[in-house]
């Protein structure tokens, strides 16, 4: 723990030996699928003519909704129901009667290869009655047109939470401000898109499914339910996953059901791997919100009342419920005490791609609203922006701090620990906040325009309900670890091996970790909400602890010693102060009384070889014990653990071209104890880069008819190295969590959360006028300058 251990997974990735879903070879005769997708944002399907398809050589099957039966013909599940989601709607695996966004799946073709499958897709003729599309939050609110005929006002949900009487507190406050803010859509955009491979194994009468997911157990349950299979007959294996960032927590995708359905029907393995355009138009987006903030405060900038209303664009369907806007509405509060607080949101349908969590999952928008408000208060009062934040901080002695709201996990929004004043102090030093004015003057003398901004966030991480782990010491002494949640770049094989090596007393190189394979650990939830290290890390620790306890019991017998006198070092149990010892591998042999020997070591465990010390009247496996040197345990948590951090940036804006350049970017990050600082810093780097993309470059350019105009990497401006500042400066604070045995908090999403808020603040500081809409491009900034000039 705490060491910068090099990653074990790198060895295969660096040699081209990673196994991603499209690398999986499910056996001979694999067929390939392609999907016909709606070209219209909103249309009625009058007729689908597939007659020209089946005579295409190499085509094996074509499916439309008419071919689906039983649960497969029903809408996909609302994964996370909520009482406020009064008008939840989900799509069908293949569209029935109506399509509601460009890219919605309409027909599914299975053929000899992907080329032929795409040829066949092009031959399907669909007669559409095109309907007017609802695009953007303004159109959704206006509700002149409806996405779903039976959803009045395009309103999927309206939800309100309040603590105290915010409107009254604001009305009574010495100072008041109102802000109108916007933030646009972006998307996870993992380098590997979605993909699924299925094989119906006739020999064992089982379905084996490989899918690029963040929840193998979720997919397993969904596939079993939809295909009418016993869950015990479905194995889901998550291969290496080429990035997720949230989009792959959604399940089941239509293809995750259609692929196994076809594999079973056709008796051949089937593979579907989406292309990049499909990822743009048929996976998921996030971020789009319009926000209205009213705030009342005193002369020091102390919040007295905060009243927030926002409109959240959730796209055409709501498979992931209200998680994103609930997170925005609660995590908006950051490290601050808001006084009285009221927040209300409307979650709205539009004829665009669905909106589900993208790294940060509503927090970037909440942080943006809160931090823009803090900056506005500081500007209004003429006070330093760090001072205004500091007077509102929850203080270290006030933890646990209960905000009186309900968080996204259905549990109280109660912060477990943190030290926000210490973080701010670190950040001020790291970015040299006090030295910035002289830097600004120097730049101004050279005709350069610079600005500084900061933003603070608190992130509920490691939500429940639980994760589990299994630790097994093999007779060779090698340790095999399995946990059920999945991995998409977070270094779980390394970090979890570090935990086991430390706890069990074995060499790091002897520990092998497997994630996301339901054959190895069928009970799991998934990798989201920065929860893997917290939940599975803790479960792995507890399972290692159980294994250790068993090893020590066995060793105490074998060495005729007291458990209290034993220690495990490098996989060998020894009696302290003596030369008596026994390797864990040998204990593994002894833990499993054998009738049959299979090698030299196993002879020791057979019935005539166990030695005179063994009581020949006793049970070979004692009551309450199990054979094998292994341990299984689970970690559950009453509520999330709250990580926090603060970012600052210095930007330069070109006086002529309005180009925005980030000169420095500084991060202070508190995720409790660090398992592997190298990995945590890597997560922060990646998060900040995604944040920079969201702040300056990335947006989903929908036209009025609902066509996504930039659905390619040529046009959707994901940052290359040239867009990311060189040298993201990081300082850590370690405030342990009391909620788990490792004292850790999640770190996966943190880097992205405050970036739009920070950049908006820095650009505003450089330019001297408010920045209220993000992302901001040079053209946007140029237009703002023109507006403020006139």
């Amino acid at each position: 723990m705490g060491q910068r251990v090099q990653r074990v997974e790198d060895q295969r990735f660096l040699r081209g030996g990673g196994r991603f879903v499209d690398d999986v070879d499910p056996g001979p005769g694999v067929l390939h699928a392609a999907v016909l997708r709606s070209p219209h944002a909103h249309a009625r399907i009058l007729d689908i003519d597939v007659s020209g398809v089946l005579d295409v050589p190499g085509v094996h099957a074509v499916y439309t909704h008419d071919d689906l039966t039983g649960p497969m013909a029903e809408p996909l599940p609302v994964l996370i129901p909520h009482p406020a989601l009064t008008h939840g709607r989900t799509q069908y695996a293949l569209a029935r009667d109506e399509v509601n966004h460009v890219g919605e799946a309409v027909a599914f073709v299975v053929a000899e290869d992907r080329y032929v499958a795409e040829d066949a897709v092009a031959r399907i003729v669909v007669d559409y009655e095109v309907l007017p599309a609802v695009v953007g939050i303004a159109a959704a609110r206006a509700a002149d047109r409806l996405v779903h005929d039976d959803v009045p006002g395009n309103l999927g949900a309206r939800m309100e939470q309040a603590v105290g009487d915010a409107p009254a507190a604001i009305a009574a406050a010495p100072h008041r401000l109102e802000l109108d803010l916007e933030i646009e859509r972006s998307a996870c955009m993992p380098m590997e898109g979605r993909g699924t491979v299925a094989r119906w194994d006739r020999d064992t009468d089982r379905l084996v499914l490989w899918t690029s997911t963040q929840s193998s157990t979720g997919v397993r349950a969904a596939v079993a339910a939809k295909l009418g299979l016993d869950i015990g007959r479905v194995d889901v294996i998550t291969p290496d996953v080429g990035g997720g960032f949230g989009v792959k927590i959604v399940h089941p995708w239509p293809e995750e059901l259609l692929v196994p359905m076809a594999a079973r029907a056709l008796g051949r393995p089937v593979k579907f791997v989406e292309d990049r355009r499909e990822h743009f138009v048929s996976s998921a987006h996030e971020r789009g919100q319009v926000q209205h903030v009213e705030v009342g405060f005193d002369d020091d900038g102390r919040l007295l009342g905060l009243d927030v209303e926002f409109w959240h664009d959730h796209g055409a369907y709501t498979p992931y419920g209200l998680i994103v806007p609930i997170i925005t509405s609660t995590q908006l509060l950051g490290p601050y005490k808001p006084g009285a607080y009221r927040v209300a949101f409307s979650s709205l349908y539009t004829n665009t791609v669905i909106v589900t969590p993208y790294r940060g999952a509503g927090r970037p928008q909440g942080c943006y609203a809160m931090e823009r408000t803090m900056d506005a208060i500081a500007g209004y009062l003429g006070r330093d922006r760090t001072e205004v934040r500091a007077v509102n901080f929850i203080q270290p002695h006030e933890f646990p701090y209960d905000h009186g709201l309900i968080f996204q996990d259905g549990r109280p929004l109660e912060y477990d620990s943190g030290d926000y004043p210490a973080s701010l102090e670190k950040l001020r030093k790291l970015i040299d906040w006090d030295g910035f004015d002289s830097f600004r003057r120097e730049c101004a003398e050279q005709g350069r325009r610079v600005g500084i901004g900061l933003a603070c966030y608190v992130e509920g991480t490691g939500v429940g309900p639980y994760e589990g782990a299994h630790v097994h010491v093999e007779t060779t002494g090698k340790v095999k670890v399995a946990t059920g949640l999945t991995t998409q770049g977070q270094s779980h094989e390394t970090a979890f091996a570090q935990i086991v090596a430390d706890e069990l007393g074995v060499r790091f190189c002897d520990v092998e970790v497997v994630t996301g394979d339901t054959r190895r650990m069928p009970y799991a939830v998934g990798t989201f909400a920065s929860r893997a290290a917290v939940m599975s890390g803790s479960a792995v620790l507890k399972a290692a602890r159980r294994t250790k306890e068993k090893a020590l019991r066995l060793a105490a017998d074998a060495l005729e010693a007291d458990v209290a006198d034993l220690e495990i070092v490098d996989g060998v149990v020894g009696v302290r102060g003596t030369d008596r010892s026994i390797p864990l591998g040998t204990l593994s042999v002894l833990s499993n009384p054998l009738r049959y020997a299979f090698d030299e070591a196993s002879k020791a465990a057979t019935q005539f070889s166990v030695g005179d010390a063994v009581d020949r009247t006793a049970l070979p496996v004692a009551e309450g014990e199990q054979p094998g040197l292994e341990g299984t345990d689970f970690h559950s948590t009453p509520r999330a653990t709250y990580a926090s951090g603060m970012h600052a940036a210095i930007v330069e804006t070109d006086p002529d071209t309005a180009e925005i350049r980030i000169l420095r970017y500084a991060v202070v990050h508190d995720c409790g104890h660090l398992i592997n600082p190298m990995v945590v810093e890597g997560q922060i780097h990646g998060g900040v880069a995604q944040g920079v993309g969201g702040a300056l470059y990335e947006r989903m350019a929908y036209d009025e008819s609902g066509q996504l105009l930039n659905a390619s990497f040529m046009d959707f401006l994901m940052p290359y190295v040239s867009e990311v500042p060189d040298g993201i400066e990081i300082d850590h604070l370690e405030t342990p969590s009391p909620l788990n045995p490792l004292g850790i908090k999640g770190a996966g999403e943190a880097g992205v959360i405050p970036v739009s808020a920070v950049i908006a603040a820095a650009v505003e500081d450089a330019e001297g006028f408010p920045v209220t809409a993000m992302p901001i491009s040079p053209s946007d900034l140029f237009s703002l300058r023109e507006e403020h000039r006139s």
Partner: protein, 161 residues
Amino acid sequence: MSETLHDIRLTVNDVVHDLRVPARRLLSDALRHDLGLTGTHVGCEHGVCGACTILVDGEPARACLMLAVAAQSCAITTVEGLAGPDGSLSPVQQAFAECHGLQCGFCTPGFLTTITAGLRRDPAPTRERARDMIGGNLCRCTGYQNIVTAVERAAQIGAAR
């Protein structure tokens, strides 16, 4: 199948392969699915992300923008061909491991091939030139910080070997 097939010969990582493909088969698909060299990854299929970058006669090229039938006279190197004959990691591979230059590993093969060629041209790049060297490859995980450092480190390892 009614498509016309073409007998072609590809030389990949110094191994000669004979295969029969339609004219439209992408080189990336031929490498991955016909030859089983799945280390070359396909991230966008329109030549922008760089994940499928291979070396064609020593120079970086997008395997998704080439047809297999057009690659017959070329010496192709994929990520599987970067390590030494004894299995030892190349300087670039070694540097990525040391510097935590990869997370999910999907874009990594394209970076490794690109940098391998880049360091041949410029064995001791400045930090700025190291950034330029990877300027055509997308990574969504690392924020490029450690990849740039890995370029510098690979140059050091290469010089020391």
